[in-house]
């Protein structure tokens, strides 16, 4: 399984994500710089990490979404390649138009940094196949702009097409329909606010995130 992690100026979860991918796949991911317009051939997964790309200037993820590397990410996704956006990576994917909706300031205006419980709404995806449908899992969140909003038609379509991957068990940040993670129509692109890479080994106190990476490995190995 050949993976890559994109590094933007201001990414700060790229190392953790690389460690998680190395741990589970046994192969170190390639680091892609935001200014790269060419990416290595044969990548199975391109992952966009959390952080504060370009200082969250203008809107979270807005500048990163227009980086040269994002054209390659979009091409990869269009070909059916897997794309995973975590936290700021999710914001980048919505800003790039690869996922619908937008991530706005948390309803309570606070930066939220804690464990949350999530429902696995859709287990029938390469990202969530390691979980049972309807299973409750725990992952940490750490974000200021995690309040997912889209118009009612888009939200209905996400529900009807089974594209809500994860839902908060309680209202965390004001997200419409408590959405924590969504898929594109082809189900090969996932964006989520919680951090699976922060819960992959026993020393983290929780390993619920590990099954997301193991699920990918099972599909791609």
């Amino acid at each position: 399984m050949k993976t890559a992690v994109v590094v933007f100026p201001g990414s700060n979860c790229d190392r953790d994500l690389m460690v998680a991918l190395s741990l589970v796949t046994g192969v170190a991911p390639v680091a892609l710089w935001h200014a790269d317009s060419d990416v290595p051939a044969g990548l199975d997964l391109i992952a966009l990490p959390g952080g504060f790309s370009h200082g969250d200037y203008l809107r979270s993820g807005a500048i990163a979404a227009r980086a040269p590397v994002m054209r390659a990410v979009a091409d990869h996704g269009r070909r059916g390649g897997l794309v995973l956006g975590i936290c700021n990576g999710f914001q980048v994917l919505t800003e790039a138009g690869l996922l619908p909706g937008a991530l706005m300031r948390n309803a309570g205006l606070d930066f939220i940094c804690r464990d949350v419980t999530l429902e696995v709404v859709t287990a029938d995806t390469p990202f969530t196949r390691g979980y049972a449908q309807g299973e409750t899992i725990t992952m940490p969140v750490a974000h200021h702009d995690g309040n997912f909003q889209a118009d009612a038609d888009t939200l209905d379509r996400l529900e009807q097409q089974g594209r809500i991957a994860l839902r908060y068990m309680e209202d965390v940040n004001g997200s419409a329909r408590r959405i924590a993670g969504i898929l594109n129509e082809g189900r090969n692109i996932l964006g989520l606010m919680p951090h699976p890479e922060r819960c992959v080994e026993p020393a983290h106190g929780n390993t619920d995130g590990r099954r997301l990476f193991e699920g990918l490995l099972a599909v791609l190995a």
Partner: protein, 76 residues
Amino acid sequence: MKARVTVSLKPGVLDPQGRAILHALEGLGFAGVHDVRVGKVIELELADGTTPEAVEEMGRKLLANPVIENFRVEVA
């Protein structure tokens, strides 16, 4: 030449920041404030002859997020 791009949240999009400001104004004793919406103003210094259409395109491609925001361009 200069252009000013005013970015505002679309009607109906919840604005938690605006709501916090509304509450703060009420706390200061200002009565009769029904709603507050926060946007941003982006001032551009442009080469002479830049067309308003080009500035519109900047708005569409980067300065505003069409999912949640509207924008207005004034060229001076």
